[in-house]
Symmetry: C2
């Protein structure tokens, strides 16, 4: 009954793999070469995409891989949004580095399971090295521990969980949160990314366990307010365990006073986590602010190579000052694992013990390749240029009679469209401008000339451009004000109150 010759509808001979692979590489090369002349996105609707894709059930029989790959490549090239476009500045997703793209090909082909050394000897060591190099790049102690994860949420969550384990004054892993003598509390600025809500919720503390600390006029955490909140909570019998400093807020690139927060954490024996998912790589710049460089004092740092290290998705990274904290928080030894030391007495790294995953892919490769290709100096130059371009954008908004510049932080500029001759005043004016600029974001995103996202700053709805894009040049930035104003005016002409 055993098949001597299997039917292997998923296999492919080397010749066909070569042919399809070369063709795909050629199409990607052509795509990258022609991308600047095409729209960032067509802004297509779900209906249109669903029609193009077809909505049939899973077919009983398979198809020709060449045809399938051709169809899906065409669909993706014609109807995607391209964060590799020089004028993509939305949210925080970078242009993917071409060598990183090839890195993902190589990773998938070798398919190491980077959960255990024995399953992935080379990949495990490359991940260890990539983690250390990321630490060195941002000025974090190179003797740290760390792990690559899927992105910013997970990178911050790993830090959160390490903190909980290290600071909860009972065996939280065994007994759970109900066994504690009080409620664990985390302190974050009001500008913190939504990962902290997901973490507090999912890890069982609840949203009520997040203490939102006020910010100053530069949208940075007020350390006096932090100190007061900790004192009040301690007096009430609660259990503060974690302070999160943000190094590059998602809305405006604000950097909390990390050095002062570190002092507070030391005095109160709290875990100091830095969310540097976006901004940590900027600490590599010699001219980086002392506030940013103070991320070196954190107990843990989240940094996303798929943001400002220009790796393709997905690549996040958690660094932990004391490597043991990851093992303390995550390690289990099931009976069905048999992981030995490789015979040299050197303890191997089994990454499944250092994070949430067991089976793990080789996302470290694209990060490692980028660090090798560009080196420290290359990253410093690219990040510095992104920042300079955002500054230019901010200045251009300041100079334009129909734009109002709001904030500039790292490589994020925020501004809004304020049409000439607007007669409204007070809250009616603000409401009108908020509605107008929200519509403007929608229109700009769908239009495909540029892609910006938004922020809400002290109640004002503003346009937000974040440049983590080595393909953006001065001409792209210079074109933005006119595109915004032209689109805004066209929009006013169509609005009932325009």
């Amino acid at each position: 009954m055993t098949p001597s010759h299997r039917t292997v509808p998923l296999d492919m001979g080397p010749d066909q793999f070569r042919t399809l692979g070369h063709e795909l590489v050629d199409r990607i090369a052509a795509h990258l070469a022609t991308l600047p002349g095409r729209p960032v996105t067509l802004g297509d609707s779900p209906t249109l995409i669903r029609d193009r894709l077809g909505q049939g059930p899973l077919a009983a029989s398979g198809g020709d891989p060449a045809e399938i790959l051709d169809q899906v490549t065409r669909l993706l090239v014609e109807h995607s949004l391209f964060n590799g476009h020089p004028r993509f500045w939305g949210y925080i997703t970078s242009s993917p580095a071409p060598l990183g793209i090839l890195g993902d090909l190589l990773a998938a082909a070798m398919n190491p399971n980077v959960g255990a050394f024995v399953l992935s000897p080379v990949a495990t060591e490359i991940e260890r090295q990539a983690v250390r190099w990321v630490a060195e790049l941002i000025g974090y102690p190179a003797a740290c521990g760390g792990i690559m994860v899927s992105g910013g949420n997970m990178a911050n969550m790993v830090g959160f969980l390490a903190a909980r384990r290290a600071k909860a004054p009972w065996d939280v892993r065994q007994a759970g949160l109900r066994a504690g003598s009080g409620q664990l509390l985390a302190y974050v600025s009001r500008e913190t990314h939504t990962w902290i809500q997901k973490a507090a919720d999912l890890f069982g503390l609840g949203l009520d366990a997040v203490r939102w600390i006020d910010v100053d006029d530069r949208l940075r955490m007020r350390v006096d307010a932090l100190e007061a909140a900790i004192a009040a909570d301690r007096a009430a019998g609660h259990l503060p365990f974690l302070v999160v400093g943000t190094a590059g807020s998602v809305s405006t690139g604000a950097i909390d006073p990390l050095g002062d927060i570190a002092d507070t954490c030391r005095r109160h024996d709290l875990w100091f986590h830095v969310d540097g998912a976006y901004g940590a790589p900027a600490a590599a710049l010699p001219e980086a602010s002392p506030d940013l460089k103070a991320l070196a004092l954190a107990d843990s740092v989240a940094v996303d190579p798929h943001k400002w290290l220009y790796a393709p998705l997905e690549a996040g990274c958690t660094l932990v000052r004391d490597a043991r904290h990851l093992e303390d928080a995550f390690s289990f030894h099931p009976a069905y694992y048999h992981f030995t030391d490789g015979g040299d007495g050197q303890a191997p790294t089994n990454f499944h013990e250092l994070g949430l995953q067991n089976s793990r892919g080789f996302r470290a490769l694209k990060v490692w390749l980028g660090l090798r290709q560009a080196g420290r100096d290359g990253y410093v130059r690219m990040i510095r240029d992104d920042i300079a371009l955002a500054e230019e954008m901010y200045r251009a908004a300041q100079a334009h009679p129909e734009l109002e510049a709001f904030t500039l932080g790292l490589s994020i500029a925020t501004f809004r469209f304020v049409p000439e001759g607007l007669a409204l005043t007070g809250s009616a004016r603000e409401e009108y401008l908020n509605s107008l600029n929200a519509d403007l974001v929608t229109r700009l995103q769908a239009g495909g000339e540029v892609f910006v996202s938004n922020a809400v700053i002290n109640g004002s709805y503003v346009l937000r451009a974040c440049i983590v894009n080595f393909r953006t040049g001065a001409a792209d930035v210079e074109a933005l004000p006119d595109i915004v104003v032209r689109t805004g005016r066209a929009l006013m002409g169509e609005r009932p109150n325009g």
Copy 2:
């Protein structure tokens, strides 16, 4: 100050991308073609790999991408463990499908952020379709919700969190676990994968919240013991919320009586989650057992395309009977997100609201490509052949005078080496055999002829082969007994007590 011409050390012209891409495709094709004749692994030590890799700090200046890619490709091809090898049967990692490998290349090149429709129109719809097709393949209601995740741990954790949200009788997201009137409890068989420990620990319930239900002589959950445990816990004031049925245990491929468990869950208003990370795809077989097919009754199912759908790492998937449960458990709407409907009034799917991640990669593509290439019938054939080969392996162990067959479940066979003329009896014999077979696993893994892992069954340390490998043929399976026995005998000759 703004650079008119940026320095872009990470960029690469289309010609260089083509050249490097073609070269890499060729090397992968050659690697796949020659793999069966090479060792599964060299079993190298961390020291050796670290020496090969070099241990220097991050370089200040970058390097030539061609050279870097060449070096790392050589290192990976020469020193990896290859789960794509016909004789890799360790843990549960499949041979990666060649088209899936190209899928990861295309995904990285297009780089959609599948957190929101507007950022990934085509990719979002392909993920929706892939999720639905996975459900159709395994006989789960196609109207379900679902999401692709990194692997089995995360796929199960998403189900766990959906269950907690749905069944906790208070607002657990807002108020946390301490606010509840009792301790939430999860019921699992003793054979459940370690993900349940990670989930109970990390999500704040604590390991004490896991009720380990005894198994029958086929290592399946005893539903009478489950019923008794639920009743006792309810009487004690606890809050049962979740029962996990395993569809293919990691050690032996055991399938819990899912239909009976579903009945129990319905009667007691508990969430029924099926961990089908490994075994769920086998439900596609017409001849699958009713117990397995009863996964269709679950509230949520975890299934790993990077296991028995032969996708490259990483690809896990959670299915949820009622799609709203994912949004209920995970959705947040931060002010800096501006996601519209694409203009057609059709609500777009924004996957960041359905799971732990915000930014998300396009892991769905490789899964979708596999389903298109092989179709339902192709998967049925491949899975059926894997099972037939495991049966053949089990029979060969039964027939061999120096092997003792233990279990056969799905495509997992377990057995151990029992040397002829072994004089020991009772517990001394068991201890000796356990130690011998543990050493044997180490020796086999390092030897590179075959790769098996281990299980511990009722105290016995056994060898374990799991075939989720479309490259394995009858000859590979037939070769195993002699390799095991030859290696076992060699080992005995070297052991002090041999």
